[in-house]
Structures are given as C-alpha cells and as structure tokens.
Symmetry: C2
Subunit: 308 residues, 2 copies
C-alpha cells in the first residue's frame, strides 16, 4: 500500500494529507440545520451533518491530494451513528481514488491487536465468509505495548497489502514526558524508531516500508535525526499549521528523493473558511475555502522543498 500512496503523492505532486477531524463547531450552520431538520438533534442528525460536511470537502479537494486521514475519535464520540459516518467517509474517499489513513491509534496485544488489524485493514471470518468491518488503507498504531502489540498489525499488512504508521514522537506539548526520556543517553522515541525499522523490514514496498511512523511537525530537530535513523520509513507528520509546524521546518522530514514524508493538516484545511485569510468564501462556500487552503499548503511545502 505504501507504493500506492507514493504513486498518488507523485501524481498530485502533493506530499500532504487532509485530516477529516470534524468538530461540530466547524460544520457550517446550514449543514447542521438541514441534518437536524431531517433527523432531529440526535446522534443520527450529528452523523448526517458530519457526513455532508466531509463529502463537500472530499468533492472539492480529491483531485489535488493523495490521501485523507479521518480521526476516528471525532466520529466515535457520536457512538454507532458516528462510526457509520466514519465508515461512509472512508468508503466515499476510496471511491474518489484517495488513500485512506485511519487515525485510530489502536494498540493492544496478541489476538486483541489482531482483532483491531483485521477489523480496520483486513477481513474478519464469519462462518465460511469474510467481511471488512472497516476499510482503511493505513491506520495509526500506538507502540507502548511493544512488539506483541504491533506485530499483529504488520502481519495483516503483509497479507492484505495495507500499511500502518506507528507513533514515534507525537506533536503535542507533553509528548516529551515519556517519549523524550533518556535511555542510555538516547531518547525513548529513538528506541521506538529502531523497532519501527525492524518491524518495517518485514513488510517492504519498493523502496519504503508499509510500516511508517508518526513524527510531529512541532519537533523539527528531532524529525531531522529520526529521518536519518529510519531511511526507508515514511513519516506521517501532524502538527503543520494550526499546531505551529512551519513548512521550512518540514523539509528535514523528507529524503533526497523528495519522498519520505506526508504532512497532515486538519483544522487548517477543513475549517479554512473560519480563517481571516479565507473569510471571503463564507460558510456557504466552505468547501471552496478548503480547496484554496489545500492549494496554498501544497505551494507552501513545495516551495520550502525547492529551497531546501
């Protein structure tokens, strides 16, 4: 699946991914009102509003981008109805040719991790039949439980040609509390990175592994070191824009081949119409504002890469 993602990145010349993390307060009032008129102020009404909102953004941007990254928590908070909207969003994005990265940050052990992997990336056996519970192309995975937790995902990736991104160094302010702790003089996230390489060697694409990692845009110096430590690992980079990560800092997450990283923006794209810069679009044209924000983001990152 990493080969497919790279091909899409090259075709679009856009090493970016749009984070579909819908907060209710991002969703234009007219979409909410329409959904509530039909389904009431219910979980189903909320899920319908989320779906319509996502569909608008996908329709307005799919030709420009390689991938979307729906954050499952934003759907799961609305229970079953929210998760139906999640799955519907994944399916629709795939029907538009997009690679879907499920930001699920799951992680457990043994047969339990296998269940997550099978549920999101593979197929579950029911009697003599097989089904996909959810249908992402990649998912994010939490490594705290060690190899027992990650290996079952890698096994499913091998069987199904899918991929994962393992959390190495996250973008949030307190990520250092545990991740930066020094072990024999080296931060823990470097140990995790070495394991990512080990897991990834078992599941290679042409040049890069189907086992990628997550390194936040907010820690560029660490990104630089991690880039070198994991030469064949694709880095999913959250934290650009709203969280403070800048394009010039991101160039170090890329390899000399211009590949090796894919930068996520969520709020900066999907709620672009709320920014002063895109205010002219207004609520009604929120999706066009998202399109313009995508164009601007691609240009921002590509010019930084050109000046590298």
């Amino acid at each position: 699946m990493i080969n497919t993602l790279i091909k899409k990145i090259q075709e679009t010349n856009a090493p970016i991914v749009v984070g579909l993390d819908p907060m209710m307060n991002y969703i234009p009032k007219y979409i909410q009102e329409k959904a509530f008129a039909e389904y009431g102020e219910t979980l189903k009404g909320a899920a319908e509003a989320i779906w319509e909102y996502n569909k608008g953004i996908i329709d307005a941007t799919y030709d420009l981008i390689p991938a979307v990254k729906p954050q499952i928590a934003m759907y799961e908070q609305f229970g079953i109805e929210g998760l139906i909207a999640f799955e519907r969003t994944c399916e629709y994005a795939k029907s538009k040719g997009l690679v879907v990265i499920g930001d699920i940050k799951r992680g457990d052990i043994g047969s339990t991790s296998t269940a997550y992997a099978v549920g999101h990336l593979g197929q579950v056996q029911v009697g003599s039949k097989k089904y996909s519970g959810f249908s992402e192309d990649f998912v994010t995975v939490n490594p705290y439980l060690g190899t027992d937790g990650v290996k079952p995902f890698v096994d499913v990736c091998k069987e199904e040609d899918k991929g994962i991104f393992v959390l190495v160094k996250t973008s949030n302010p307190s990520s250092g509390e545990f991740q930066d702790q020094l072990v024999d003089g080296r931060p823990l996230y470097e140990l995790v990175a070495e394991k990512v390489v080990e897991w990834g060697n078992e599941c290679m694409g042409d040049k890069y592994s189907n086992v990628g990692c997550v390194v936040g845009a907010t820690y560029p110096e660490m990104g630089k070191v991690l880039r070198k430590l994991m030469p064949n690992t694709y880095i999913l980079v959250p934290g650009y824009g709203a969280q403070g990560g800048k394009a010039e800092d991101l160039v170090h997450y890329f390899n000399e081949d211009g590949l090796g990283a894919i930068v996520n923006s969520s709020r900066g794209i999907i709620a672009a119409y709320k920014q002063e810069k895109y205010a002219e679009f207004g609520e009604e044209r929120y999706a066009e504002a998202s399109r313009q924000a995508v164009i601007d983001m691609i240009e921002d990152i590509n010019s930084a890469l050109a000046n590298k």
Copy 2:
C-alpha cells in the same frame, strides 16, 4: 465511580472482573448456528452470536461479581454490527447492576482525547441536546502521549463521576521493550506510575482515586513495587490464569485493607467449558461452567489473600 466499584467488590467479596472478550471459536456451535440461521453468515449474524453468548455469561455470573470488562477490539473487528453488540453488552451488564470497564486502550491528544472520553464516559452535545455514544463506567487509557492525552479523560471523569485505568505495565511478554527501559536508573513504568498518582490526585474517591492503573499479573515483582508507589491507586490486573499469573503472586497487588486491586480473567472464565476441568458441563451448559470458574477464581484469590 471508584467508590461504587469498591462497594460492589466488598458486597460480592470478589476482587475480580470477568473479561468479555468473545472470540468466535469460544462461542458454542449451537449459538452460532442459531444466529446464522436468523441473520446468515454475516457481520450481524456474528454480532448476534456474540451478544447471546455474553448474555448467557452475564446471566450466570452477575450475582457473584462486581464488574465485567468487555474488550472492544473483539467487537470492533465486526465493524458497526460488532460495536452494536458491544454497546448492548455494556447496557445489559449495567442493567444487572454490574460496573462496566471498557477495555478500549484509547489515547490521543487534546480535543481528540476529549472526544474519546466524551464518547465512552460522558455525553456529547448535539445542538441543544446531550447523548451518550457508548456508556462504560471506566475505560482503559494508553499514556504514551503524556498528560495532554490523559488529562481530558480525567476531566470527564470529574464531571461525570467515572473512572479510568491507565496502562502502566502490561502483561504481555514484550511489554518490557519500552516500559522497562531505565531512565536515570528507574524503569519507565515507574515514571508513568508517578504521573498516574499526579493525575489521580485531581480526581479522588473516598480513599482511592478514580484514576486507576493496569499492571499485569505476569510481573509480580514489579507489581509489588508499583503497589507501594501508588498507595491510593486501584490496580486492574490482567494476566491471571490463561496468561500465567497465579493467585499467590497477586496478593502483593492488594493493600493492607484488602482493597486496591481487581483481577481480570477472560478466557479462563468465558471459555471455561473448553477446559478439561469444566468439560463435564459441555457446550450447552457453557454459562454454568463460567459460573463455576468464577466461584473457583474467587476462592483461589481469597485464600491467597487470607494466607498473605
């Protein structure tokens, strides 16, 4: 919520929790066949079989135990239908007076962690109304992202009188890869434990905190140290029975007041009928086998505690 859990433990004199982690191969053939006859070999058929199986175990054990711990991965692998069975199981267990610990091992940052917390422990706002997406009393939380990831759960616990168990030292063989790494001469899991105490101080019940932790039964020496490091933290202990943890090793997870720990068994209880010891019950009476296994487990742990 920790007060409620402790009260239930004292009433039943059973510091145990039954892990509802249904694997298809645990479910008696007659239950599967009935479900498939009604819904076909579909995700809905699988979910129906899981629900019937769980209901049998709950009905046969609810008067003996304080709590159940459904492992969401085992449901999530069957997609939306599986998650409906998860929610149905949680609701049914609560209607029988049981405390429900959702083993979800979620963890993200900021508003995303809030979304998980709201979805599983709290109420989500939809227009002018509020709803519970899922409805556990406690959930398990992964700490790899630091305070930013855990604090939103603690905030919801305070508002809603709910609780969490944070992964400190997990029961699996490779848990040491990162958790045991020495930081200034001390294992990382001790640093996590100290943070658990800090987070927990903000959300105390009468004697114990609503912020508990997870320490595997398979590492009793570490459990002993962690017990002292976190005197007011309830420890959820997986790994008893099938994974190798023994009752005599578990006494160190308890405080002098006889409280402080709750021991989980999943396979050992729910698939008891597959063990030679309970084979006489047969598939048809799987739930009675589970009841006997619960009785035996309570006796095993209580005699070890009496001989402490």
